[in-house]
């Protein structure tokens, strides 16, 4: 046992201040989530009128009561389609996450048809691709509650259309990998969307409301002059008996979901998992709830990342790896929910020793088949003559190379700053983390806004010097402010999360649970035996 001795005074002024600041960020996240839920709820009357469940009711009915649920991409689209922070809706008109259906860990995907009738947003395609990717990596059955008006023609972009095909490719890949895909047609699924049921292994069609067609009545009339009702063109009843697109016909939404639950239950999916038991464990000596008071929301204020680690790992028991070598880069061995893992965090920028230590640590984790958890709080790799001479590029590269190629699960968290190549070495977005979540207070980018502005200032001063002219102080101040704002706006967690540069935003106090859930998910996937096939299941 290497029990970590916390130096944090719970209840001290700074603890209280940190906590208040952090909870304000959490409240901002929750209020945005509520904004989307409330918006969707405005359409409740329409759902009731049609005898339907609302999207959130569908999700509640689909998931096993009381089983954990990890939402994915909860901030998707925030500040993307609508750049006004006061009105922009997060979620991208979809509610997605990992939850349990008939005891099966599944990727659930519910179209939020309460918002613009489920019409896709600029980030919808990327969110769907992200979910399909996680389902494939984590071997999760993919269950989609479909009701979507399709794409808003005014928001059409050729890029979206081109990328959109990936949604169907993703379904085909899942099917071929031996991972079942299930679609419940609650409402219309038209045009490209019609391939959603077409590409699914199991389709449940809800009578009256469920529909799938390449072109609705309006388009058919325009294209060929044929007069047909939507229901005739693609009603669930028609598909169940005429085309065979629908396997199971449901009386209503609740019945459709019940059928989906039965279909998943009948897979005996968990018979094909080798035991991956977790060891017995005890909760951290310091409550994870205290994390909110431990970490200042301003990344410039230093703190010891081990204080965070101690609140995440079982029994606050952590073994420091090379603590005195490159000490700002903190590597520890510990376990979470009884699952051994390596954790890396930053007490400042990464120096050459820190980089080599990290590279070695990653390789050791890989050798021991131990997942790695990255707690990003770094302003980047050290710069300056001393560090360049010490081979910062070379050593940093080793770290980036190691992080790219380790074969063990990688779970990244943006808990503070994650700047520059430090983000790369700490398993940022481009390094295929199995899971990547952000705290609402985090900042990511090539550098901080002030730093960028400072760089610009130096460039301007030097240029002026060369030209022998006076620096226009007013112009430079304006320029600095503009650059700071330009960088800061983009480094804000709500912006990056809205742009899908992570898998979602979480309450920092939930971090241990999120990590535990992700570690379980990865462990389950890696002990699961699939029966892949070459082409996926063809719909007959």
């Amino acid at each position: 046992m290497s029990h970590f001795q916390s130096k944090i005074q719970v209840g001290s002024d700074s603890f209280q201040q940190n906590r208040a600041d952090m909870l304000a960020f959490v409240e901002k996240m929750r209020s945005l989530e509520r904004r989307a839920a409330d918006k969707s709820e405005e359409r409740r009357a329409r759902f009731e009128e049609r005898g339907q469940l609302s999207p959130r009711e569908r999700l509640a009915a689909l998931l096993d009561p009381g089983m954990p649920f990890l939402e994915l991409f909860n901030m998707a689209s925030y500040l993307v389609d609508d750049t006004n922070p006061e009105t922009s809706l997060p979620g991208g008109s979809m509610i997605t996450g990992i939850g349990f259906v008939s005891g099966v860990r599944s990727l659930v995907f519910v179209d939020d048809s309460g918002i613009n009738a489920g019409a896709s947003t600029a980030m919808s395609v990327e969110k769907a691709l992200g979910c399909l990717d996680i389902a494939l990596k984590q071997k999760l059955p993919f269950i989609h509650c479909v009701e979507s008006a399709g794409a808003n023609l005014m928001a059409y972009t050729v890029g979206l259309w081109a990328r959109g095909g990936g949604m169907f490719a993703g379904l085909a890949k899942l099917s071929a990998a031996g991972i079942p895909t299930v679609t419940i047609l609650h409402g219309p699924s038209t045009a490209g969307g019609a391939y959603q049921p077409g590409m699914s292994d199991y389709v449940i069609g809800v009578k009256k409301n469920g529909m799938a067609m390449l072109a609705g009545a309006a388009l058919v009339k325009a294209a060929t002059g044929e007069v047909a009702k939507d229901h005739e063109l693609g009603g669930a009843e028609m598909h169940a008996s005429v085309t065979g697109l629908v396997e199971y016909l449901a009386e209503d939404d609740a019945h459709g979901i019940e059928i989906a639950r039965e279909v998943v239950g009948r897979l005996n999916w968990n018979d094909r998992v080798r035991d991956h038991p977790a060891k017995d464990f005890i909760e951290p000596a310091q409550s994870s709830d205290e994390i909110a008071g431990v970490v200042p929301v301003n990344y410039r204020k230093p703190y010891d990342v081990r204080e965070v680690m101690a609140r995440l790992v079982d029994g606050s028991d952590l073994l420091a790896f090379k603590p005195d070598y490159g000490p700002a880069t903190v590597c520890v061995q510990a376990s979470i929910f009884g699952r051994a893992c390596g954790l890396i965090g930053n007490n400042g920028p990464i120096d050459p020793n820190g980089a080599t230590k990290a590279a070695q640590f990653f390789q050791l984790c890989d050798q021991a088949d131990m997942p790695i958890i990255f707690l990003n709080n770094t302003t980047g790799y050290m710069v300056g003559k001393v560090y360049e001479h010490a081979g910062m590029i070379k050593h940093g590269s080793k770290m980036i190379q190691a992080v790219t190629n380790v074969r063990v699960p990688k779970i990244s968290l943006y808990i503070g700053a994650s700047f520059g190549a430090g983000n790369y070495g700490m398993c940022g977005h481009a390094f295929d983390p199995d899971f990547l979540f952000t705290w609402p207070s985090a900042q990511t980018g090539v550098m901080g806004g002030e730093q960028a502005a400072g760089t610009m200032e130096q460039v301007m001063v030097n240029s002026a010097k060369r030209k022998g002219i006076e620096v226009d102080a007013e112009k430079m101040a304006k320029q600095k402010a503009a650059i700071t704002a330009h960088f800061d706006r983009q480094s804000d967690a709500f912006y990056t999360s809205g742009h899908l540069l992570d898998h979602g935003m979480i309450d920092p106090r939930d971090t241990r649970k999120v990590l535990g859930f992700c570690l379980e998910t990865c462990a389950e996937a890696r002990s699961r035996h699939l029966s892949p096939n070459s082409f996926g299941i063809a719909r007959m």
Partner: protein, 660 residues
């Protein structure tokens, strides 16, 4: 007198009384033979016996009431005696006679005494002759309306019209005034004819709000006739005893010995042998009247056993063997108090309609001062062929209050899941103030529970909350079990900050939607139409808005939820989609709602029918049930013939649905 040792006895009965008799037989070294039917196969009385003989399918006429089969069975297995228990063959003099002729000992009085006492009019005449006080009345052989009119006038109103051959409240009518007399006679006569095959009637002065007090007597062949004190069986519903106790709470020792003496004299007057019960009405002014004499072991005999410390069945065997009782009247001492309740498979919410079905869980009290005479077990099917009485729960105490409290506790520790019972109703009776004060008369149940509401609103809401919470946590547990491993610390957690589930529960056909929001690992907010409650999950209990509610037992069987709270038991169904209920309800597949006999088929193959139209009539538990078309359509198939016996759930008729 010679003593004839009984070596093997056939018990011509079933259920709790068959078991009760066999247990004593075992202790006194007599081998036991059970008779059973296909419907009773595997039942406890069959399993317990040394030998068991199958004597029929299910209906009693062909089995437990078939004298020839029973006697043949006894002879085949070499039994030398037959114990009839109560009901069935116990008071059939022809059966007693047939036993005698077959060389079998019938455990009971002589056929003559059975016949005499079985006819109320004759019995009463005999008792009047013997100087036993009787309710003023008319028991003449002249059954003409004029004779009754004359007699009624001299007795005065109100009066009771009773079947002379009656028992169990059948063929009994209260007549308040002269103009009701003719109708009363007519109804009583037709009931008497149906029930007993004998329309002879008697009249009796109606004693208002009397107590039913009966004296247990015992007589051996050596001339020793004595009594074992009385039982108060005033708590009756439609003349069916529900609660019985000994001693009677208002009897003085003087009155006790007077009534006991009268009972003994009446038995002696007919040279009675064995166990018998002389029933009296005890009026408010302490006057008492002979009612009838039962020539058998009574259902409620255990309360007498509890306060006298004597095994009445053992005494029956002794007398039947020709031995002496072995004690005198002066040796009989009554100590303490005992109360018995009868547990019935019936639904108090639906006018006590008998219930059938599978026993999903049956638990009895383990308290030492609580005795359960039972004849059922978990997994058994309760068929419609037999009496719905399932068990008797008896508690003993040093005094009445102690016995009453023990019995309440004993009942709270007793539950049956799967079939509705009157358990909760029994607890309500025992907790009723009038009963607690020992003031219950035969009018008690009608007066206090006559317009019994279907439970209190508050209790109903609480039951819904409990049902939702138990279902929620049970579903969570099921999912956890089926999963490939989830840390328990993650249960109830969702990254959006909460988890919401919507559950639909049906109770007596009403569907309630309940939303459950998990707020803490063991805490949920449950919202229903009546508002929200915070529920914490504890070991064997829930805390609802701060108040602890003990869950005595909980069973989640497929989609059925059964649970027992302190004094109430509940059944809910988890409805996964309401449309499924509706779809199931109009499938055009008509199934038997319960076991029974098809009386009549009104539909024919090919006939066009409308939803709501009658298709057939099923008789079960002596009640007729109409089978109704649930859909417009054409009758496509009829799977049974009139007169055939069907099981619950059997497909009877198919209707081809009219497509739009």
């Amino acid at each position: 007198m010679t003593v004839t040792k009984i070596n093997k006895v056939l018990i011509a009965n079933r259920g709790e009384i068959a078991l009760r008799i066999m247990k004593t037989a075992q202790t006194v070294g007599i081998k036991t033979v059970a008779i059973y039917t296909e419907a009773d196969a595997g039942s406890p009385h069959q399993a317990f016996a040394d030998q068991a003989v199958l004597i029929g399918e299910g209906p009693v006429a062909d089995s437990y009431l078939n004298s020839d089969k029973i006697i043949a069975a006894a002879i085949d297995c070499g039994a030398d005696a037959i114990h009839p228990g109560y009901g069935f063959m116990s008071e059939r003099s022809d059966f007693a006679q047939a036993c005698k002729e077959a060389g079998l000992i019938f455990i009971g009085p002589s056929p003559q005494d059975i016949e005499l006492m079985g006819n109320k009019a004759a019995a009463k005449r005999k008792m009047i002759e013997a100087g036993v006080p009787c309710v003023p009345g008319y028991e003449g052989e002249d059954q003409s309306p004029d004779a009754f009119k004359q007699a009624a006038k001299s007795i005065g109103f109100p009066l009771m019209v009773k079947a002379a051959a009656g028992g169990g409240g059948k063929g009994m009518r209260l007549v308040e005034s002269e103009d009701e007399l003719a109708t009363g006679l007519e109804l009583a006569r037709s009931e008497a004819e149906n029930a007993f095959g004998n329309g002879e009637l008697i009249l009796e002065k109606a004693i208002t709000r009397p107590r039913h007090v009966e004296v247990q007597i015992f007589a051996d062949r050596l001339g020793n006739t004595l009594h074992l004190g009385e039982r108060d069986c005033s708590v009756q519903r439609r003349h069916q005893k529900v609660v019985e106790e000994a001693p009677c709470p208002v009897l003085t020792s003087d009155l006790r010995s007077t009534m006991g003496q009268v009972a003994v004299e009446s038995a002696k007057s007919i040279a009675y042998e064995g166990a018998g019960t002389v029933e009296f009405l005890l009026a408010e002014d302490s006057s008492f009247y002979f009612l009838e004499m039962n020539t058998r072991l009574q259902v409620e005999h255990p309360v007498t056993e509890e306060i006298t410390g004597r095994d009445l069945v053992a005494l029956q065997f002794a007398v039947a063997e020709g031995r002496a009782l072995g004690f005198e009247q002066s040796d009989v001492t009554l100590s303490g108090h005992a109360i018995e309740v009868r547990l019935y498979a019936e639904d108090p919410e639906q006018d006590f309609l008998p219930q059938t079905g599978d026993v999903k869980d049956w638990q009895t009290s383990k308290d030492l001062d609580v005795r359960t005479d039972e004849g059922i077990q978990t997994g058994q099917n309760l068929s419609p062929f037999y009496d719905p009485m399932l068990a008797k729960i008896i508690a003993y105490g040093d005094d009445r209050e102690e016995a009453r409290h023990s019995l309440i506790k004993g009942l709270k520790d007793t539950w049956l899941f799967g079939v509705k019972t009157n358990r909760d109703f029994l607890i309500e009776i025992l907790e009723n103030e009038t009963f607690a004060e020992g003031q219950a008369t035969t009018a008690f149940l009608q007066e206090e529970f006559g317009d019994r509401k279907n439970g209190k609103e508050e209790t109903a809401v609480r039951a819904k909350i409990v049902a939702a919470a138990l279902l929620y946590f049970s579903l969570q547990e099921n999912s956890l079990e089926k999963s490939a491993g989830v840390s328990e610390t993650l249960l109830g957690w969702g990254s959006p900050g909460f988890l919401i589930s919507q559950l639909k529960l049906s109770q007596n056909g009403d569907v309630h939607t309940v939303s459950v929001r998990q707020e803490a690992p063991d805490g949920v907010t449950i919202s229903l139409e009546q508002g929200s409650s915070y529920v914490e999950y504890l070991e064997d209990a829930l805390r609802i808005d701060g108040t602890k509610v003990v869950i005595k037992s909980f069973l989640h069987d497929e989609d059925d939820l059964y649970f027992a709270l302190d004094a109430t038991t509940h059944h809910f169904r988890h409805v996964k989609a309401v449309s499924l209920l509706e779809a199931g309800g109009s499938s055009g597949q008509i199934t038997a709602p319960m076991h029974g006999n098809i009386m009549e088929i009104t539909a024919s193959v090919g006939s066009k029918i409308k939803a709501g139209e009658r298709l057939a009539v099923l008789e079960a538990m002596k009640m007729q049930h109409e089978l109704i078309a649930d859909h417009d359509g054409v009758v496509s198939e009829i799977y049974m013939a009139a007169g055939s016996q069907v099981k619950a759930g059997d497909l009877l008729i198919s209707i081809a649905l009219n497509e739009e």
